[in-house]
Amino acid sequence: MSAPLLEIEDLTVQYRTNQGMLTAVSGASFTIERGEFFGLAGESGSGKSTLAKAIIGGLDDNGEVTSGTLRYRGEEIQDLAETELNERLRWKEISWIPQSSMNSLDPLQRVSEQAAEIGRTHTDLSDEAIREKLKEMFDVVGLQQSRIDDYPHQFSGGMQQRAIIALALFLEPSLVIADEPTTALDVIMQDQIFKYLDRTKTSTDTSLLLITHDISVIFESCDSVAIMHASQVTERGSAQAVHDNPRHPYAFMFKEAFPDIREPKRELEVIDGYPPELMGDVDICSFADRCPWAVDECRQSAPSLDPVGDDDATHAAACVRADEAYELYEAEGTDPDGTGRTIAPEEDD
């Protein structure tokens, strides 16, 4: 009873390529509790979508979990066969709201037919019970119950997205994985979608793994967060701890890169370069080449994700300078040597 809903421990995922093994996720660890909204953030190339796919056994053919464990309610699931995943986990335990969700409904099938197909494959429910569950969930996401027999084209874009959320939720899964669920939508529609996701949190005790490049959405809507950079989890913890007391340079520079309409003139952080593609075992900090505070040690081994020792026990950072980087940043900005970005000093010393 006490096992967390999902535990990811030291997970490494690699893709076989012509150049060798490409590492998309390296040594990632975090835990999602029951009823928790967990945000996984990072820019493109961070490995966040790969990690999510690994959880439901949805990696591309050339991808595999090469080490580490994925535990769902205490049971290891990284080696489960396709049939087992289908029979036991997918949809009724862990469901998925995909990234390009506008295209993920079958245009030739009524939404209720698509629900029936999912229900028959993954549960023993009768068609009538499936319809009732879908109707209830249509209500939760703000669609008229009478529209479950509509075809996808009869819905507007935002309504389609809500129909997809209803399909992801109607079998009452314990965990929903949403990969950039609102990225293609305007802000008002995005806010409507999150209003309905909030509602499922209170009405069904569902956990959410929200994958997004947009940390604003995570700080607003999630209880906890992990920030990834080029295959590594750089920092994780409660949203409040990571927001108030960030330790990893990538975490706080990433956070400071986001505009906040409350401060329209605040200078936005720029992170030079881009995430590297990493082949084979990752034995460096993947952020070292972009980090203003990097030292030799950062390139000698991959830093471990260690607790940072504040009030939040889950708060951890993978940085050898975790105890001083943020103070240095606050004191000197991202230009510790006095060269580079700022205007050059008048005299050299």
């Binding site: 802000v187 008002i188 209003k195 700080f219 309409i261 936005l268």
Partner: protein, 430 residues
């Protein structure tokens, strides 16, 4: 100097499309529907100035851009470049205009030719316009857009550039002809946040240091303050509010702008932002007719003076009337769910169930009942008349622009009696 005409002026610009008609439409002699993509938009861009156009998808901002670069012909109003109307341009005027007005497109991943090197991409516009000294110009431009040293980038193809670098090349390509005006269509929306700020800074520098004027078109209000001093908010083809950027973010006047600003996520777990009150999406811009375009979704739509009705209930009536007028009610489906599809009383009750969550009182209730019965009996026109007679809103007339001394313009009936928009008069929603 001050008497010079503005660099670029859009006056009452209108771009309507006719919806394609089919054989049946011709036989029935139906008028083709009008898609009112841009409707009576006016904007001015002075030299070394920047203005933003903000709106959701479908608001007409991209049509506005395409009309500005001559890919669409305006169906009304005009565009003036240095005082000269675009509609009177001859071939050489167009040539000059196209070299002086440049565009940066949204998608740096598809807007560069994958087979061309950076140097070739940047030289192409110079060749087309017959400008010499190309090597030097291209190097200079690369420095300006912070791709330095230029040697590092000249021989690269797009596949070997990051997203931010590609967008810098696109900006360089727009800049290489030394234009007066740059039209930027969502230039950072496809970039990672780590490079977004750097590209915004580059564009801001073009305005500050190179005297370029910029029209910044975006759906994103949160980054607009980094580019532009003035924001125009568009909704369904019209500018509903225009004001200095910081003021509009802090104190939006138009109910739509307010909804838009308040839906922007705030990156702070301690800040308790309310989720939006709005439902649905903007309708299609087809045959919009008179009136405020936002009235069917407006949280503050104005009831007649003598009508006593709670705002939420009134909103439902307005939304229902809009759907009725647009023939957008799901009558057939509601009827199909009935036990007896000929039972008009049951149909009226089911319609009420479907479209009305709030109860009405007294005469309001009686009028709605009569109207729904008429509709159930097949007389939609009478239902519409009955409802209009009781519930007609001033918002069904097109609101005029009200402008203050400090260049704040808003088109909303809440400000009708007020030439000075001193304080927000829109009541907070219930």
């Amino acid at each position: 100097m001050s008497n010079d005409p503005p660099l670029l002026e859009i006056r009452n610009l209108e771009k309507y499309f006719e919806e394609s008609s089919n054989v049946l439409d011709v036989l029935m002699r139906r008028e083709p529907s009008q898609i009112q993509a841009v409707d009576d938009v006016s904007l001015t861009l002075e030299e070394n100035d920047s203005a933003a156009v903000i709106g959701e998808s479908g608001c007409g901002k991209t049509t506005l851009l395409l009309t500005l670069i001559g890919l669409h012909d305006a169906t009304g109003g005009d565009i003036y470049y240095k005082g000269q109307p675009v509609s009177e341009f001859d071939k050489s005027d167009w040539r000059e205009y196209r070299s002086n007005v440049q565009v940066i497109f949204q998608d740096p991943f598809n807007s560069l030719d994958p087979k061309m090197t950076v140097a070739e991409s940047l030289k192409e516009p110079l060749k087309i316009h017959g400008i010499g000294d190309r090597d030097r110009r291209v190097r200079e431009v690369l420095e300006h857009v912070e791709l330095s040293p230029p040697e590092k980038y000249l021989g690269r193809k797009p596949a070997n550039l990051s997203g931010g670098e590609k967008q810098r090349v696109s900006i360089g390509r727009a800049l290489v002809l030394e234009p007066d005006v740059i039209l930027a269509d969502e230039p950072v929306s496809m970039l990672d946040v780590s490079t977004q700020a750097a590209v915004l800074n580059t564009m801001k520098n073009l305005i500050d240091e190179f005297g370029v004027s910029m029209l910044y078109i975006s759906h994103d209000l949160s980054t607009v303050s980094y580019i532009s001093e003035v924001v125009n908010v568009m909704y369904l083809g019209r500018v509903v509010e225009s004001a200095p950027t910081e003021q509009i973010l802090a104190d939006p006047k138009h109910p739509y702008t307010e909804a838009l600003v308040s839906a922007i996520p705030v990156p702070d777990p301690h800040y308790n932002r309310e989720r939006t009150e709005m439902s649905g999406a903007p309708r299609d811009p087809v045959d919009l007719g008179e009136g405020c375009r936002f009235r069917d979704r407006c949280p503050a739509v104005i009831p007649p003076d003598d009508l006593e009705i709670p705002q939420a209930a009134y909103r439902e009536v307005i939304a229902f009337r809009e759907r009725l007028a647009r023939d957008d009610l799901t009558l057939d489906r509601v009827r199909a769910e009935l036990d007896d599809s000929t039972d008009t009383d049951a149909l009226a009750a089911a319609l009420r169930e479907e479209y009305f969550d709030h109860d009405l009182m007294g005469e309001n209730d009686a009028v709605l009942d009569t109207a729904l019965s008429a509709l159930a009996a097949g007389d939609g026109d009478r239902a519409g008349d009955l409802l209009r007679g009781r519930f007609e809103s001033v918002c069904e007339q097109t609101p005029a622009d009200v402008t203050t001394d400090d260049e704040w313009t808003v088109a909303c009936h809440y400000y009708d009696d007020d030439t000075q928009i001193e304080e927000k008069r829109v009541p907070t929603t219930d």
